[in-house]
């Protein structure tokens, strides 16, 4: 009975600049819930995408019931009984429940072209009833609650006769009672002999539901354990703690004065009473899990999203209306997470990108003063060591690290006093990272304020002068990097403990 339903053997996969998976083994037996845990970027999703046929591994093999397989597409994997329930659902909102469950494989009336609707509705109802979900099968999916949609997703997978179900952070979208009923369903699926892979970063859930847990870190397998034999601390320890040391520049600070103060900043459901102060001459690190509201916070400060309640005071002025143009004028720069779509105009030259936010300043009448523009661009390229140092080159052809330097230089040209950096080193290679860290530190020393959002804990600890941790829209507290350990940050980011209150929180209470 303990035969492996599937076996992934020493799977490796690399993307340009990153070794996403390095010889990872992963197996599943009939009737078990196998949790896959690890930090953001540990390789969980990549591993599962390979199993689901969305990616092809560079090395290693996949066995299904002892036989080697190779999937050409997700559809192909589905035919072999592997279904994925994604975080963002695979449902068409305008179609009804039954139509969604059978999408792509509708039952036909005999050999005709017509859908056997009676059969489809009956089957869907039966599937959902077995899951303990009472959902009107004729209702359009857009009218369902998120938890109900999840049930429909599960029913869809069951309908495909999936033996192996991959659930990608299913608890990210439901909570409380809904989570209990999800767990009940998972248990009953397990009793039915199915193999469930449960991806999560919530340790509590892993302990509650999983028979086994496999921990990944930096694309490597740390180990497969039985949660029952361990306690939470053990697993968190396995998840963090680096195998390689990164070099961070010494923490030299510049002139320190408050530049940005947030008071009880709220956005419904996303930001809850966020209060904090950012000082010039230092780097404030914002840690938290994906979805904790960090990027949203940055967008509110920058004026890209409206502020619903609370106050933002920048450099002595209260910013009322959400207008990026005003924020830029007052001196806020934003190095976005998504370089390609939000950071740069890809088909334009380095020169044009470097001056895109200061055109007001370098124009005469309606015309851009090209000579001045070129001078500025040359100066930036020299100062930030942008490679290749050709100001007319399109930014599209630059490496990730150099693109990031162009964005940073752009904000320095705009005389930004505060620079928000959202995942500044994502997708750039190790050498470029080190160089970028030095640049960041130089800017802080020169008196710029830097607010750095990062999911990489070593980066947060290694670069920040102060750290705040966010969890579900709340600030969980402030840490100083000397006392912060990855475990503590992770515990705070998962909402298990609170840290020291920030000064603003202190003032209020």
């Amino acid at each position: 009975m303990n035969e492996n339903v599937f076996e992934m053997q020493s799977i490796s996969k690399s993307f340009p600049g990153v070794q996403a998976l390095d010889k990872v083994d992963f197996t599943g037996v009939e009737g078990e819930v196998h949790a896959l845990v690890g930090e953001n970027g540990a390789g969980k999703s990549t591993l599962m995408k390979i199993l689901a046929g969305a990616y092809r591994q560079d090395e290693g093999s996949i066995l299904l019931r002892g036989k080697g397989v190779s999937f050409a597409s997700p559809k192909d994997a589905q035919r072999h009984g592997i279904s994925t329930i994604y975080q963002e659902f695979n449902l068409i909102p305008e179609l009804n429940v039954a139509e969604n469950i059978f999408l792509g494989h509708e039952p036909r009336k005999g050999r005709s072209l017509f859908i056997d609707k009676t059969h489809a509705y009956r089957m869907s109802r039966d599937l959902l009833t077995n899951l303990g979900a009472e959902i009107d099968t004729r209702k359009k999916v857009k009218h369902l609650s998120v938890a109900q949609q999840q049930m429909v997703e599960i029913a869809k997978a069951l309908c495909l006769n999936a033996e192996i179900m991959i659930m990608d952070e299913p608890s990210a979208v439901v909570s409380g009672k809904e989570l209990d009923s999800l767990f009940r369903i998972i248990r009953s699926l397990r009793e039915g002999g199915r193999t469930i892979i449960y991806i999560s970063h919530r340790i509590d859930e892993v302990f509650e539901i999983a028979d086994r847990a496999t921990v990944l870190k930096d694309g490597k397998l740390v180990g497969t354990v039985r949660p029952r034999d361990l306690d939470k601390g053990d697993i968190i320890k396995m998840m963090v703690g680096r195998t390689f040391a990164e070099v961070f520049p010494p923490k030299e600070k510049g002139e320190r004065r408050p530049i940005l103060t947030l008071k009880n900043v709220c956005r419904s459901g996303i930001l809850k009473d966020v209060s904090l102060t950012v000082y010039t001459g230092e780097i404030l690190g914002v840690a938290g899990l994906v979805g904790a509201g960090r990027t949203e916070l940055a967008r509110v400060i920058f004026g890209a999203d409206p502020l619903e309640r609370g106050e933002i005071i920048f450099d002595g002025r209260r910013l009322k209306k959400a207008r990026p143009k005003v924020s830029i004028f007052h001196g806020i720069g934003f190095v976005t997470e998504d370089r390609k779509n939000e950071g740069l105009v890809h088909c334009l030259s380095i020169r044009k990108n470097l001056t895109s936010v200061i055109l007001d300043r370098i124009r005469k009448w309606c015309f851009v003063n090209e000579r001045e523009e070129k001078d500025i661009a040359k100066e930036s390229v020299r100062r930030f060591k942008i490679m290749p140092p050709k100001i007319e080159q399109e930014v599209e052809s630059l490496s990730g690290g150099n693109q990031q330097k162009v964005i940073l230089a752009k904000w320095i040209n705009a005389d930004s006093k505060l620079i928000i950096m959202d995942e500044p080193t994502r997708g750039i290679d190790v050498g470029a990272k080190a160089e970028f860290y030095i640049l960041m530190r130089q800017l802080a020393k020169q008196g710029k304020a830097i607010l750095m959002i990062s999911s990489e804990l070593p980066e947060v600890i290694g670069m920040s002068d102060r750290i705040v941790v966010m969890h579900e829209g709340h600030i969980m507290g402030e840490l100083s990097p000397s006392e912060a350990r990855e475990e503590t940050i992770l515990m705070m980011a998962t909402g298990q403990i609170r840290g020291k209150e920030t000064e603003e929180q202190n003032l209020e209470s």
Partner: protein
């Protein structure tokens, strides 16, 4: 019908209420409106617009658009009348030829769109230019002649029922059944709703799209054949207005221009709304060009309204 279901079909119900109000108002405004003669005339006008806008609806559902339909209609009228030239035995072969040609143009539209990834707007606009150019190379002005039997399509009657009404009824029925009862119909919504999910569900998205453009082009061809019968002559400009007009009934009927929402039942009401407005303006002796102006406004208002609903 439960309350939920009523709510989900609310948009369609509203369109039919608007249609009913329009019929009532028109009957009050003009004595001629409710006469048998005017109603059969109205049917006659609704058919050409109706068939092509049902084809257009299917394309819109996939989040596409077909701007070449007008030129295909022009092409069809010119070829039908020009090649038949009043000879009865030529009717079947020529009709077969124009239908094949229509399907071919739709096939080209669809294939270019799915293989190159160029936006349907651009591809079908270019196709319009190509086809319309060919039409003018073939005929510079009204052309051709039809045998008397051909006139039955637009002017015949079965008992007291005008034949055009039967055509419209039959084609709507087929269309609605295909849309609601077949997998193909379901896939149109899935593709328009989210192409990536449709693909992941194992739907052959490219094939469905190509077939949809073929159906739309076929619909334009059938409209063209009908118009030939109605006018008795081919006209290189016959289809001109249908590029815009074919989009209005679906939009009025609740079909979203970004796809995935709406359908033929709403379009059917839209067809009659547009035809009745144009009919009543004729009866009230309003100049045709005012109708163009109004059509434009209707389109903007309808799209703006449906856009609001989507968000």
């Amino acid at each position: 019908m439960s309350l939920d279901r009523l709510k989900e079909n609310w948009a369609t119900i509203v369109v039919y209420i608007v249609l009913a109000v329009l019929v009532l108002a028109s009957s009050l405004m003009s004595d001629i409106f409710p006469t048998y003669r005017n109603v059969s005339n109205l049917m006659n006008q609704a058919v050409a617009l109706g068939i092509v806008s049902m084809g257009q609806t299917l394309v819109l559902l996939t989040a596409g658009i077909d701007l070449s339909v007008g030129s295909v209609i022009s092409l069809t009228t010119c070829l039908t009348t020009g090649l038949i030239m009043g000879r009865e035995p030529m009717v079947l072969p020529v009709v077969a030829l124009v239908i094949a040609l229509g399907l071919f143009i739709g096939f080209c539209n669809g294939t270019i769109i799915v293989k190159t990834g160029v936006s349907p707007l651009i591809v079908t606009l270019a196709m319009m230019s190509i086809v319309q150019g060919c039409v003018f190379l073939y005929a510079k002005g009204p052309i051709g002649e039809l045998p008397s039997s051909f006139y039955f399509i637009a002017w015949g009657k079965l008992g007291t029922v005008p034949f055009p009404a039967i055509i419209l009824g039959a084609i709507s029925a087929i269309g609605i059944v295909v849309q609601k009862q077949t997998s193909f119909g379901q896939y149109l919504f899935a593709i328009g709703g989210n192409e990536e999910i449709a693909r992941r569900s194992g739907i052959n998205v490219d094939r469905v799209k190509i077939v949809t453009y073929m159906i739309c082009s076929l619909a334009a061809t059938l409209s063209g054949i009908f118009l030939s019968s109605r006018m008795g002559q081919g006209d290189p400009l016959a289809g001109g207005r249908y590029m815009i007009d074919s989009i209005i009934p679906p939009v009025l009927g609740g079909t979203s221009l970004v796809g995935g929402k709406g359908g033929l039942v709403g379009t059917l009401a839209g067809i009659f709304i547009l035809t009745i407005i144009s009919n009543i303006l004729n009866l009230l002796n309003v100049e045709t060009y005012w109708q163009w102006v109004m059509t434009g406004f209707i389109m903007i208002i309808a799209v703006a309204f449906s856009g609001k609903e989507a968000t």
